[in-house]
């Protein structure tokens, strides 16, 4: 059994003709929490979609547990996805179902468990994210942080081997953020899962991730443990970690000469 549950090899991907990722290599070790960081729009979420097989790479491959993702047919892909749980940026809860039914959804779809066992499992999962008391609420009645936690309970409903988090901290207050941080680590260790987090929140990620990849300009600009990256001298990493507004990533978007634009 290889140490890497997921590996991305020489992956290139783009929408249309421009490439978003150029020849990327990444390895995600079993049982570890890995993070993919980078500025907005650098294609972090796209990597999760490539792992989940929702997009097909232009070149290269993504291998999950020995299988090449884009070569799977629909059944193969669905079989693979049953081993994955994904937390979407805004939770993506089904708005017509209650919290309870949202968490029960994957179980009802993929198992023939009797209702009393489903009930116990749903309450267990909700308890793990601290929301057992909110089981009868509708998604519209939840705060952003609570919705994210319910979505997390749903993502782990079938005890997945891989849990993917798309911007789990975006738009959360500091308390909810700390709760989610804690949950990611605890759930990963308790389930023996492999977690991948896509985010741009430096402080939170550095506090609990095992390994971090930095994406910039479509390539892996830096990688390493939080400690190694903190000590990194790479200008991009320094700019990102210390949130400096100007550096290798310029403040201004590409534009013609300022004076010419103002007709001076």
């Amino acid at each position: 059994m290889s140490d890497n549950l997921i590996s991305i090899e020489n992956l290139s991907f783009g929408f249309g003709k421009t490439l978003l990722h150029k020849d990327i290599n990444m390895q995600f070790s079993r049982g570890k929490v890995s993070a993919i960081m980078g500025g907005s729009g650098c294609g972090k979420t796209t990597i999760l979609r490539l792992i989940g097989g929702q997009l097909t790479p232009n070149a290269g491959k993504v291998i999950v547990d020995g299988d090449i993702v884009h070569e799977q047919d629909r059944n193969g892909l669905y079989h693979m996805r049953r081993k994955m749980g994904m937390l979407f940026q805004h939770g993506a809860l089904f708005t017509d179902l209650s919290v309870y039914e949202n968490v029960a959804f994957p179980m009802r779809e993929h198992t023939n468990l009797p209702e009393n066992i489903i009930r116990d499992l749903v309450l267990l999962k909700l308890n793990a994210v601290g929301l057992r008391g909110a089981y009868d609420k509708m998604p519209a009645e939840l705060s952003g942080g609570m919705a994210r936690r319910v979505a997390l309970a749903r993502a782990i409903a079938l005890d997945p081997d891989i849990i993917m988090y798309d911007e789990p901290f975006a738009g959360l207050d500091p308390i909810s953020m700390a709760v989610i941080c804690d949950l990611i680590r605890t759930l990963n260790d308790a389930l023996g899962a492999t977690s991948i987090i896509v985010t741009h929140d430096v402080a939170e990620t550095f506090s609990f991730a095992d390994y971090i990849y930095f994406l910039a300009d479509g390539t892996v600009a830096a990688e390493g443990s939080p400690k190694q990256l903190m000590a990194s001298k790479l200008p991009f990493v320094k700019q990102f970690i210390h949130s400096e507004k100007d550096g290798p990533v310029p403040f201004h978007a590409d534009a013609p000469n300022y004076k010419t634009d103002l007709r001076l």
């Binding site: 929702q54 669905y78 049953r82 994955m84 805004h90 993506a92 708005t95 994957p106 779809e109």
Partner: protein, 261 residues
């Protein structure tokens, strides 16, 4: 010269994107058929959708039908009376409703009431990543979301059209017999003698099935194909009404020319 080239270029582009959408819509239809078996296993979903698309459309259908029937009764009476055949009012009302107005007006109301709801709901599900989430949970959104709504539309539309025709006839009866005072026996017996089951009622039913198919698949496709933004969903909803209405009227002409000429 350049303008001419641009004109043909734009024309070609518009035509190609229309063809593309037609193809994508057809593909969605076949996928829906393929996944229907899957969705029938969760029959409660289809039943729930029949409630949303069919049962909740009942009020608008019944009220509109009654008014349409009353207007037919009034207009028909004034014209028929000139020729001294006001007893034929029952036949006129029934034929107009069963052959044309029942299926057509129901389909137009259905597109406005249920079609827009379907498009907006699916478009918003897409915009809020609910369809993506479903895909990632290895559940096909076509089996779970599209197919139940498709069958609900296919089942609801003919029933709604039948109810429309029945209530419309009652509206005509109310005006002609109860208000104007046309002989009740003549009203019903002429209707019974002149409305043919296979020619009129079955043909009307076929129309309502065809319109139900068109309205539902258009609403589903527009929602499924909508760009996941507020503007995208609003445009898709508008397109559902416009395209459904035009399709229903166009198909009605074609079907009528085959059935009744």
């Amino acid at each position: 010269m350049n303008k001419l080239l641009n004109f043909f270029g734009n024309l070609g582009f518009a035509l190609r994107s229309k063809l593309y959408r037609l193809g994508a819509g057809t593909r969605l239809f076949f996928l829906t058929l393929i996944y229907s078996a899957d969705s029938f296993r969760r029959i409660h979903l289809t039943i729930r959708e029949i409630y949303y698309t069919g049962v909740l459309s009942l009020v608008i259908i019944v009220v509109s039908a009654f008014f349409v029937g009353m207007v037919l009764g009034l207009q028909g009476y004034y014209t028929l009376e000139k020729y001294g055949s006001s007893e034929a009012i029952g036949v006129l009302v029934a034929l107009a409703l069963v052959r044309e107005l029942g299926p057509v007006v129901t389909a137009l109301l259905f597109a406005g009431r249920a079609g827009t709801a379907i498009t907006a709901e699916i478009g918003l599900m897409k915009a809020t990543e609910q369809l993506s989430a479903m895909e990632m949970m290895a559940v096909s959104p076509i089996a779970r979301i599209i197919a139940p709504r498709f069958w609900a539309g296919m089942i609801s539309m003919p029933i709604l059209a039948t109810i429309f025709s029945m209530v419309g006839i009652l509206g005509g009866y109310f005006i002609a017999v109860l208000v104007i005072g046309v002989d009740e026996g003549a009203f019903w017996s002429q209707m019974q003698a002149n409305v043919d089951f296979s020619n009129d009622i079955i043909d009307g039913a076929i129309k309502s099935v065809v319109f139900g198919f068109a309205c539902t698949i258009i609403a589903l496709f527009e929602g499924f194909d909508a760009p996941p933004t507020a503007e995208g969903v609003s445009r898709a909803t508008t397109r559902t009404v416009v395209i459904s209405s035009l399709t229903v009227l166009g198909l009605d002409f074609i079907l009528t020319s085959f059935m009744f000429v």
